[in-house]
């Protein structure tokens, strides 16, 4: 962190920045009101798949950039897991050098167009902004600005392909093409390695493709970045499950010198309550995969999906919000969140909860499912729910939900989506006896290098953290790339 701050200080002292700061008084800057993201009409958008946030206009972006006072010690940066040079890129926007802003973003973040859309900014960079901590005012809209600059570059037709070092012919591979694998691959390509990314599914992108819906993160946004990685020389091999299609030993024989495991936390959890296997009860992974990866909602595609009238989604995270809003879009009359704590404890991004409320999603907070019932064909038709209240805080610091005796009631439902979390994908650990894992099945790594107990295997993202975030996964990927680069250089020079 100190290194980044020193670097940022240097940038800040450049003449144009000093001029820019002087051009408008701090008092003037802080008087301005935070920009509002342009959004599609809730009553229209909840029937289609278009992106809810339509982005900022150039004028809006410049005005918002102006609010940033270019702090001598930019606390916002400490809130960003990859240490984006936040004031540097924002000040470029203020001078209308939008491509320049995008270039700065790409120095630390492989997928700014993605992070600008899906980062929980309110808990990260924006939580540490001067406005939030010192003025008790809405923070600079760092996420919106990040998205603006990245989109501007994508739409400009002048996508810069990052410089890559001369090919050193050393083969390395990633297992998984989610944000962790992609961030790792981009850095390794920059270092000059011969990089291959193996992916089990038929699409590249991990959760960005099969999980997060089109109305929040269009696939085209991810594909443009993947294209630019292909231009950097990264090879993608889909439909290939490492540990099944070929073992690590097979791959070592092919000449790979080191591996990065970014295989994610793909295993859905269920609650193991009676009736959970009835027809019409899905994991959110299945529901979202059918709709996002397989295009099940479109008549032209062969994969089917159930579009219920009364849909209950169990859980309060991003996955639950994505599922409940997808159900609404597939035509549900009632699309409900059933969550055992209160709105305040919900782990979902604040913006998603707000959007869901606008779109007519019902929130049954402090409610918990107990049992499901079905008709004679085995299709769920009713569930038993119990009301909850909040007790003492638990280990996570959130107040523990406690059931209220005698408060059980029945709810008519024809579709239920269980979204109570995921576990690490066991495929890789199961195929490597010597790999050290925690009792939750996450891979144990060195915090600084991301190296696992097997020297040529590094890991990061959800397979190390359990369920986390896109930006943390990407941060891990970059750290692992640095760690691996050092490991290989040391081996080569010995």
């Amino acid at each position: 962190m100190d290194e980044i701050l020193a670097y940022l200080k240097e940038e800040r002292s450049e003449e144009w920045r000093a001029e820019l700061r002087k051009s408008i008084k701090v008092k003037e800057r802080t008087k301005k009101i935070r920009v509002e993201m342009n959004e599609e009409d809730p009553d229209v958008r909840n029937k289609n798949n278009i992106e809810v946030n339509s982005g900022l206009t150039e004028e809006q972006a410049v005005l918002e950039a102006l609010r940033c006072i270019d702090c001598p010690t930019p606390t916002c940066v400490s809130g960003c897991p990859v240490g984006i040079h936040i004031p540097s890129f924002i000040k470029k926007i203020e001078t209308r050098d939008f491509l320049g802003a995008a270039t700065i973003l790409k120095e630390t973040n492989t997928l700014p167009a993605v992070c600008g859309r899906v980062c929980p900014q309110e808990k990260q960079c924006e939580a540490q902004c001067f406005y939030t901590i010192k003025m008790n005012e809405p923070p600079v809209a760092i996420g919106h600005l990040e998205r603006f600059a990245a989109d501007y570059e994508q739409n400009s037709g002048q996508m810069g392909v990052p410089l890559v070092a001369e090919n050193n012919k050393i083969k390395v591979a990633s297992i998984g093409s989610g944000p962790a694998g992609l961030a790792w691959a981009a850095d390794m390509a920059k270092f000059g390695y011969d990089v291959t990314v193996y992916e089990a599914l038929h699409e590249i992108g991990g959760v960005l493709k099969y999980g997060i819906p089109e109305f929040r993160l269009p696939n085209s946004v991810v594909d443009i970045e993947i294209d630019s990685m292909k231009k950097m020389g990264v090879k993608f091999i889909t439909n290939f499950i490492v540990g099944k299609t070929a073992s690590f030993d097979n791959l070592r024989e092919l000449g790979y010198k080191a591996f990065f495991v970014g295989s994610g936390a793909g295993l859905p959890r269920f609650m193991n309550i009676p009736g959970e296997n009835y027809i019409g009860i899905f994991s959110s992974n299945e529901y979202l995969t059918r709709v996002n990866l397989m295009n099940a909602a479109s008549d032209e595609f062969d994969t089917p999906v159930m579009s219920g009238k009364n849909v209950a989604v169990i859980g309060g995270g991003n996955t639950a919000m994505d599922s409940v809003r997808t159900a609404k879009r597939l035509g549900a009359d009632r699309s409900m969140i059933i969550y055992r704590r209160s709105l305040k404890e919900m782990p979902a991004r604040v913006e998603e909860v707000k959007h869901a409320q606008e779109e007519g999603i019902e929130f049954l907070n402090l409610n918990n499912p107990l049992e499901y019932y079905a008709d004679e064909n085995g299709r769920v038709n009713r569930m038993k729910v119990q009301k909850m209240e909040l007790g003492e805080p638990d280990e996570s610091g959130r107040r523990r939900p406690v059931s209220i005796e005698g408060s059980e009631y029945f709810l008519d439902v024809d579709t239920v989506i269980v979204s109570v979390g995921v576990s690490p994908n066991p495929l890789i650990p199961a195929s490597l006896k010597d790999l050290k894992v925690t009792r939750w099945g996450t891979i144990i790594v060195d915090e600084d290098t991301m190296q696992s107990s097997i020297p040529d295997i590094f890991a990061g993202g959800d397979i190390v953290r359990g369920g986390a975030t896109v930006i943390l996964a990407m941060g891990d990927g970059r750290k692992a790339a640095a760690g691996m680069h050092k490991y290989i250089q040391e081996k080569v020079s010995n």
Partner: protein
């Protein structure tokens, strides 16, 4: 992209397809399956690897035309490509020398049974195979089964081939005649349910290979879940084979019918479309 090297019809609705897939040919074992997607619009469907040739780098699939996806696959010609194919998936069959093995296959379950019969035979077992189908045309792979079995008994509902009667009758005849040490059954869920009830009467350890609906095949979605011994299991990663006497077949039966009306409608539309 995987090229189709050869296609051979066993009957109007059943064909063997030899597909280029060198890595899978090398790593697959009896009991493994693949998931494939025929084209851009296609769904991901699971098919058992019925055989493989490591030298040629090919695997064999035996498909029965039952709906849109299987029909689309059957229409592909030699030289054409399957867009996506991934595997080998699932756990390999646990094969040991146990003595006498009774293998019972019904309908399209006969295809996935072939590599298992082959493996049991190779391990030195006496293998008796019962093949059951509605009629003569649906009895497939009889020849190949005979090559790897000590005896093959054919049962048809209408008596048009072999003996008239259900698979369970064929099985019971064998069990009454000689000592059976282990049984394995693959077929429609309802058939497996009754096959399992039959062997249970005689305390014969039995495995069933389940053909639930799947999406990813890697443990990611839970579409394939079944209850085994009171616990939820994922067929694609925990199976596809389980102790037949612990499987909740009734639950599996209704889960298989989850999309029935949508599937039938789509199949009808597809047939209209290809016939014009």
């Amino acid at each position: 992209m995987n090229r189709i090297i050869k296609k051979e019809f066993f009957s109007e609705k059943v064909a063997k397809i030899v597909v280029e897939a060198p890595e899978i040919a090398k790593s697959r074992k009896a009991g493994h399956f693949v998931i494939l997607r025929v084209d851009e619009k296609g769904e991901r469907i699971p098919l058992t690897i019925a055989g493989a040739d490591i030298e040629k780098g090919t695997i064999d699939l035996v498909v029965q035309d039952v709906g849109v996806s299987s029909a689309k696959l059957m229409r592909l010609n030699e030289g054409e490509f399957i867009l996506d194919l991934v595997g080998p998936l699932g756990k390999a069959t646990h094969i040991e020398k146990v003595g006498t093995v009774l293998a019972a296959g019904g309908g399209v379950g006969i295809a996935p049974l072939l590599p298992i019969v082959e493996a049991y035979k190779k391990a030195g077992n006496r293998v008796i195979t019962v093949l059951a189908a509605r009629n003569k045309d649906l009895v497939i792979l009889e020849e190949q089964m005979r090559q790897h079995s000590d005896e093959v008994i054919v049962m048809t509902d209408d008596g048009s081939s072999g003996n008239k009667g259900l698979v369970t009758k064929g099985m019971e005849d064998v069990i009454k005649r000689e000592k059976v040490d282990e049984a394995v059954t693959i077929g429609p869920a309802i058939m497996m349910k009754f096959a399992a009830l039959t062997t249970k009467k005689y305390n014969i350890p039995t495995v069933a290979s389940l053909n639930t609906i799947m999406v990813d095949g890697t443990g990611m979605c839970g579409a394939c879940r079944v209850t085994v011994g009171g616990e939820t299991k994922f067929v694609c990663v925990d199976g596809p084979e389980f102790d037949a006497n612990k499987i909740d077949f009734d639950e599996m039966l209704y889960r298989l019918s989850a999309y029935k009306s949508q599937e039938e409608e789509a199949y009808k539309k597809y047939l209209e479309q290809v016939s014009t």
